[in-house]
């Protein structure tokens, strides 16, 4: 959706990242100057500590990937990150236009807009050692792919095996004999022998 900003002499933009980590909660950060509330979510302003790579904006639904970096993570938080693996988490990046004077988000249709929606496919952490203060901080870089990419790469459906069937229906034994009868020989019509 195109935003009509023609009536504003000056606008400021900021990105807002929402990451939903299963069994942990939501991480809400932005590179805005002040904290902002969007759709009931309060985004913590971390300013330049948040890095978001460029993304394309096209009418067509495209495969794309985005890298999100969050710097300045204290060493004490590393274990918390590792314990709550962000891989597979849903991530939404919004871009908001707001008034630089008042710091409020402009009240126009379509603002803020969703810039990217996808999942975190990988992440890595780098350590930055400050020799003066003898402390270390970390940067986490999240590699995210769009939903379109996930849909194109997604393999769904069932195969004729017990594992697939039990994943969907744990008590259903219907496919439990497929591995048994793979290339099995039956002496059809030969008297004797137990039923198979």
């Amino acid at each position: 959706m195109a935003l009509d900003l023609s009536s504003y002499r000056a606008v400021q933009t900021a990105n807002f990242v929402k990451m939903v980590i299963e069994d942990y909660g939501n991480i809400l950060v932005s590179n805005a100057q002040v904290s902002q509330t969007i759709s009931g979510d309060v985004y913590t302003n971390i300013g330049q500590l948040l890095y978001i790579s460029d993304s394309r904006s096209e009418i067509r639904a495209l495969e794309q990937s985005v890298t999100v970096g969050i710097s300045g993570i204290p060493a004490g938080s590393v274990a918390q990150i590792l314990d709550n693996n962000p891989k597979g988490s849903a991530i939404t990046i919004r871009q908001a236009f707001y008034n630089p004077t008042t710091g409020t988000i402009l009240s126009i249709a379509g603002n803020p807009l969703i810039k990217f929606r996808g999942i975190v496919t990988n992440y890595n952490m780098t350590e930055e050692w400050d020799n003066a203060s003898k402390t270390a901080s970390f940067t986490i870089v999240l590699e995210c792919t769009s939903l379109i990419t996930n849909i194109l790469e997604k393999v769904s459906g069932r195969r004729t095996n017990d594992a697939d069937q039990q994943t969907l229906y744990p008590d259903d034994l219907s496919m439990s004999r497929v591995s048994t009868i793979t290339r099995a020989q039956f002496q059809f019509g030969k008297p004797g022998g137990a039923a198979v």
Binding site: S156, T160, Y169, S174, V178, I181, F186, G189, A195
Partner: protein
């Protein structure tokens, strides 16, 4: 000299003689003895000969754990994927179980659940005609309409369009189909076949009519979900076999 002694003497003189008559007689007697011996041997063989034991036919199944269960929309003819084979009745009956399709979801065009029905079932290209129960095969019909009836009663097909308890008869027949776990030997109610369309084919071994295995089975099935919008929505939103896109992310109206 007794009468017996006289006969032996005559015989002895005949065999021991060097004349032509003696040679002919010796040859004839030797041939007769050989002939009797041969007959005796053959007779011995005849006395021990029995009907050959039925050895049956070796049948190899081609199931695979990597076969994918298809999703069928509209009308399709499919062979399905084999997922179970059972032999029972002293090895004279086999049950073959074929999964044909995932059961599809609700049609957004009319808000009704999609239904998959069985139009026709084919055995190596021959259409199966059923008895009134819609299960027991009455005849096999070729493309010219010729009927083959000597396998009647020895092939049965049970069709299911919604798991083990969702039995249906082919189009044009009426009848009640029992749960699949009551049909396939060894199955229990936990063989649910959740959200699957499948068929069970029973074959009896009848050597006299050369019914010694299963044919190439194909199933002509038809899904009421056939409109492009319904299909696109179903495959986009279904979490079991589709993309699993949340319905809220799709503008369906």
């Amino acid at each position: 000299m007794s009468f017996v002694d006289s006969l032996l003497n005559i015989g002895s003189s005949l065999f021991s003689g060097g004349g032509l008559g003696s040679n002919i007689l010796r040859t004839a007697v030797t041939g007769l003895a050989l002939n009797r011996l041969t007959q005796s041997t053959n007779k011995g063989s005849d006395s021990s000969r029995t009907q050959p034991e039925e050895q049956g036919v070796s049948v190899q199944t081609t199931a695979s754990t990597e076969n994918k269960i298809p999703v069928l929309y509209g009308r399709a003819v499919t062979g399905g994927q084999l997922f179970d084979v059972r032999m029972s009745n002293n090895n004279n009956t086999m049950h073959y179980c074929y999964v044909l399709s995932e059961r599809t979801g609700t049609q957004i065009s009319n808000s009704q659940a999609s239904v998959i029905s069985f139009n026709n079932i084919y055995w190596s290209g021959y259409k199966l005609n059923f008895q009134a129960d819609g299960i027991t095969v009455a005849s096999l019909e070729d493309l010219q309409g010729n009927l083959r009836t000597n396998w009647a009663g020895n092939i049965k097909v049970w069709c299911y369009n919604n798991g083990s308890t969702g039995g249906v008869v082919p189009v044009g027949y009426s009848g009640t189909v029992p749960p699949a776990y009551g049909v396939v030997p060894g199955w229990q109610p936990s063989w649910e076949m959740n959200q699957l369309v499948f068929a069970v084919v029973q074959v009896n071994y009848v050597r006299a009519f050369n019914l010694v295995g299963i044919g190439n089975m194909t199933f002509d099935i038809e899904n009421t979900m056939r409109l492009p919008g319904d299909v696109l929505y179903d495959i986009s939103t279904n979490t079991r076999y589709g993309a699993g896109i949340p319905a809220t992310d799709i503008k369906a109206t």
